[in-house]
Every structure is written in C-alpha cells, then in structure tokens.
Symmetry: C2
Subunit: 334 residues, 2 copies
C-alpha cells in the first residue's frame, strides 16, 4: 500500500503538497497539482482513514445512533440515511441501542476526541451534560424525533397526529374509539406514543366524547402487545367500534386479534395505525403517515450540510403528518 510519502517522492514534491491537493486546502499550482494527481493515480494511492483521523481528531464517517434497529420504522429511516449519503464517500456506522448502557456508551463515542464527522441521533434525548459534550467535541448532530432545540432536528407533531387519527374515526361516526399505545418507556424516555395518546384524548373531548379509561391501554411495543390489548378491549361488555393504535406494528396486532375472534374489518371494527411502514400498504391499513424514509433522507442532507458548514446553524424541520385512508376504516355498524 502506497503512502503519502511515496506519492510525494514520485511527484517530486513534499508531503504537505500532496496533502494539500488531497484536501483541496491552500493554493497549489495547476502543474504541481497535476503531477501529484498522476502520481496518486499511478500508485493507486488511497489515504489511510486511520492515519487521517489522528491529527484531524475526527473519523471520516457518519454515525447513526438508533434504538432498536430492527423495528420497521427504524429500518425505513436507516434506509433513507444510507440513500441520502450514498453519493458521498462517507461510510455509515450503525450504533444500535437496546440497553441504556449502549446509549451513554455511544454518546461518549460521539463526543470523544475522535468523533465522527457527522452524527444522526434517532429518538434519543441526551442530557444537558451530554449536549454540552457534543458542543465541546465540535459535533453537530442531527436529531430525528427528539426535542433538542440546540441542534438541528427533524420531527413531526405527534400530538397532532393523535388528533388526526382520532378525528378520522370521529368523522366516520365512531364514538366508541379505543387507543392502544406504547407504555411509557422509562429507560429511553420516548415520548411520541404519549403525545399521540394525548392527541387522541384531546380530539375526543373536542368532539364532546369523554375518553373512557377502559378504552385506553398501553403495553410494551410490539405486534403481540397490540394483539393482546385488543383482545382485552374486545372482551369488554361494551367493546369499542374502532381502535387507534400508536404504531402500525400494534395496529397489525389489533387486526390479528379481530380476525381471531371472527370480527371483520372494517365492517365490525375499524383500525387506524401510525407510521405507514411498508407493510401497511399491503395490508390496506388506514394510518397516519409518518415520512420515515424521507426523514432519513433529510437527516442525511442536513448532516452533509453541517459537515460543509462549520457554523452548524441548527435547523428545525417539521414534517407533515397525514391520514392515509385505506381499507381498515369505515362507518360503525348501525
């Protein structure tokens, strides 16, 4: 493997000059530059990422810190990120978070003196101390679905999403509307499901319907939870005619439960999900669309921008939520 010294020798210049043409810093005479370029070409020289990272104190890569990469919603986002970064030469490093320990560990990595050039943090809110460490490290992360005004972020109005989903059901004439959501996540403090839940309650009240405690259930994220909670709902003396789930994953569980007890959707029961993950379209699930893939794409763009611009002026972009009406919602039976 050729090093920068080999290139310098071959081109008859000093290493600094090679470094300069490599990084397009400073002025290099056209002719000299060309000599260097051909030397690089002839030697098939490629700078060593590690050696470069050392003096630069940063790693040429974009780290993506994402809890539960295996969730469909996370997958969609990572896809968007990878796509958005494809035309750069920045490798994408996935930092999966499943336990709280992972989180602080990865935060440390991001704020270490060998931080990545860019970072995207999904659904995780660092402490103030951690935030200032980011600043100290010169890191300019982009947050997805996290309320961090100090930095750039891409987010949706979950409360409004809760209202939208519920309103759709209300508009169809439902009043016995249940809500199934994620349990409050104490370990990571995700807030979106809670906000959607609140939106649900507010929409109901605005329509003059008092939210039934019996109709509101939460549990750990997952299809199975959706299924079980739906069964509880269905076993009620006066079961709901519609269910609004705070994620498609849970909504699918609800559909399974309905099928298991012989209920037809939307004839006997309406179901609305949240996110519009890929499967939703196939299942004909009516859902509140959350532009997941697009959020990844956007995050990638912001990261690129922040890498170029040392100013790191935080940008806040809100993505629109909208109800995608498909075939799991209809009017309640008379």
């Amino acid at each position: 493997m050729a090093t920068i010294i080999d290139v310098a020798k071959r081109a008859g210049v000093a290493v600094t000059t090679v470094s300069r043409v490599l990084n397009e810093k400073g002025q290099v005479k056209e002719e000299t530059r060309n000599r260097v370029l051909t030397a690089i070409d002839e030697l098939a020289y490629r700078p060593s990422p590690a050696a470069r990272s050392l003096p630069r104190r940063r790693v040429h890569a974009v780290s993506v810190l994402v809890p539960f990469v295996t969730h469909p919603s996370a997958v969609a986002r990572v896809q968007g990120i990878v796509h958005g970064l494809r035309d750069t030469d920045l490798p994408v490093t996935i930092l999966d978070v499943e336990k709280p320990a992972h989180q602080s560990e990865h935060f440390d990595t991001l704020s270490s003196s060998f931080r990545p050039e860019g970072a995207i943090i999904v659904s995780l809110v660092p402490s103030q101390a951690q935030l200032s460490r980011f600043v100290d490290a010169g890191l300019c992360p982009v947050f997805l679905d996290a309320d961090v005004p100090e930095f750039s972020r891409i987010f949706v109005d979950d409360h409004k999403g809760g209202v939208l989903g519920t309103q759709h059901l209300l508009d169809l004439g439902h009043t016995r509307i249940a809500f199934i959501g994620d349990m409050e996540n104490e370990t990571f403090g995700f807030e979106s499901s809670g906000q959607r839940h609140k939106g649900y309650r507010d929409a109901l009240r605005a329509a003059g319907v008092e939210p039934e405690p019996e109709y509101q259930r939460t549990g750990p994220h997952g299809r199975d939870t959706g299924r079980m909670l739906a069964h509880e709902l269905l076993a009620l003396p006066r079961p709901p005619t519609a269910v609004f789930a705070s994620s498609d994953t849970q909504a699918i569980g609800v559909m399974e439960a309905a099928r298991e007890v012989g209920l037809r959707i939307p004839h006997d029961m309406s179901v609305v999900g949240f996110d519009d993950i890929e499967i939703a379209a196939y299942l004909g699930l009516t859902t509140v669309r959350h532009p997941l893939y697009e959020s990844g794409l956007l995050a990638a763009e912001l990261v690129i921008q922040h890498i170029k611009d040392p100013e790191c002026a935080p940008q806040s972009v809100e993505q629109k939520l909208e109800v995608i009406v498909r075939s799991t919602t209809g009017r309640p039976r008379a």
Copy 2:
C-alpha cells in the same frame, strides 16, 4: 479526553504497561494492573480508535458490503448482522453497493492496509486478484450467498429451492406453471435467480412437463417488473394456472397483476414466492423460505470467530430451504 499518557502518569507506570493491560498482552503484576485499571476508571479513559488503528493497521469495526441495502432481503440480513454483533463492541459499517464502481472501491477499502477487523460480503463475488488481496491484507471475510470456497461462506442451494417451489405447485396438480425471475445481472453477476430458474425447469422436466418458453420471463428486480411480466403471462392465449417467482418482491407484483384483472388467488391462480421476507407472512404468500435474518446472525458469529482465531479456517455452512405453504397456492381450477 484522557490519553494513555494521562493514565500512565496517574497510575505511576509507563504507557507500555497501560497498553499491556488494555490489550491483555504480556504479563502484568496483579497489583500494577489494578492500579492501571482504577486510573482508567477514574479518568474515564477510552482508547482512541483512530490512534489504535494506526500501528495495528486495522480498524476496529466490521464492514458489511451489501448491494442494494434497501431491498427487503438485504434489510433482513443486515438486521441479523447487527443483532449478532450487538454484544461485541464492534461497530457495523454499512458499505452500500449500487454501482459497479462502489464494488471495487469498497473491496479496495477492505484490503487496504487499514482494513476492518471483520468483513461480511453479501452476494458479491470478487475476482481472483481481489481475493488474493484479501489474503495479503490478512482479511478473513465471510461471504453470504456467494460461491467463494477460499473463505467462509453461508449459502443456500438455489437450484434446489427452484425445484422445491415448482414441486409444490406440481404436487397441487398444476402443469401450466410459469416462472418469473430476475434478468441476469451482468453488472454484479448475481446467480441465485438463474439457479432457481434452472431448478424450475429441472423439476418440470422431471415431472414430464416440458417448460414452455412463453411461461418463462425475466426482468429487472422489483415489484413492478413482477407485475408487468405477470400481465404478459395473463394475456397469453393459454395463461398459466400458477406462477413461481424467484423473489417475494416479484411475487407480490404478480399478486397485484392478478388483482388488477380480477383474478382471485389461489382460486384462479396460484403464486409462490422466494425468500419469505417479512411482508410475505402478512400477505399469506406461499414461499420458499430463505433464512435471511439467520444468515446475518450466522455471518456475525463467523466473523467474531475469525477475529478471535487468526487461523481463519474457512467454514462453509449451507442453510436449508423449505416451502412455507400459506394461502396463495391451491389446486388448479378444473
């Protein structure tokens, strides 16, 4: 950020000693080791990956070279890999390949003097020259779905899979069975679809059915292709009663086409897919199950093993394919 020097000072030892306890190389007196350990702890010292990479000539990470990360099958594999690596401290770097240029570029990275500790290469077959570069670099990659006897690999018998899927249809009584597959991919030379296709033909002949050229169609990978090719099939004077697609993605396209012309599945037409991607279960698609997620998990295990064991003894593991019968296949109409 504390460096190894700070730790050494605090512990009252030389940096060498710190390095030794860090890497568990050489003997260090119990007491000295403890002093170092507490110093590390007190300073919250974390070795710099970049600085470490330089003398070691390798990056502490596992690179995953995967074409078209956005394909559902690739996603499943990456999930398996990330999961399998979760309990190590090895970051996963995604190297997406969409153009041929990406491929050689990433291969170069893997065989550079700053190679990653581990590598997983999906569906891509390097040239002999590239292979020997891997050897020279001391890299010991794990291949997924690629026929590379020199290294460890995880694979399935695609030909047999083609037979299995076709046989299932044959067993149900179909004889007018069509095949829809991927066009031969000249850029990357993927072979699985071709092998499945061959299995289809062989199964048919073994059953005394001569494969109809009209019934065999290929096109670029994708749902849309499946849909269009299916329409061509359906427009035939004597359309097939069953379609075997070489991927679930295409099979889904076939189902769409059937729906568009008012055909009911499996009543009017049977459909078999390949892979068993997540959506398949939801759609009730009968398919030849390819353990994608598991292959990623396995690949992660092998990589870990190879990192530990410098011998790098290649291992070859074949994964079993099986038909998952769901609701898109049935007997042909009388």
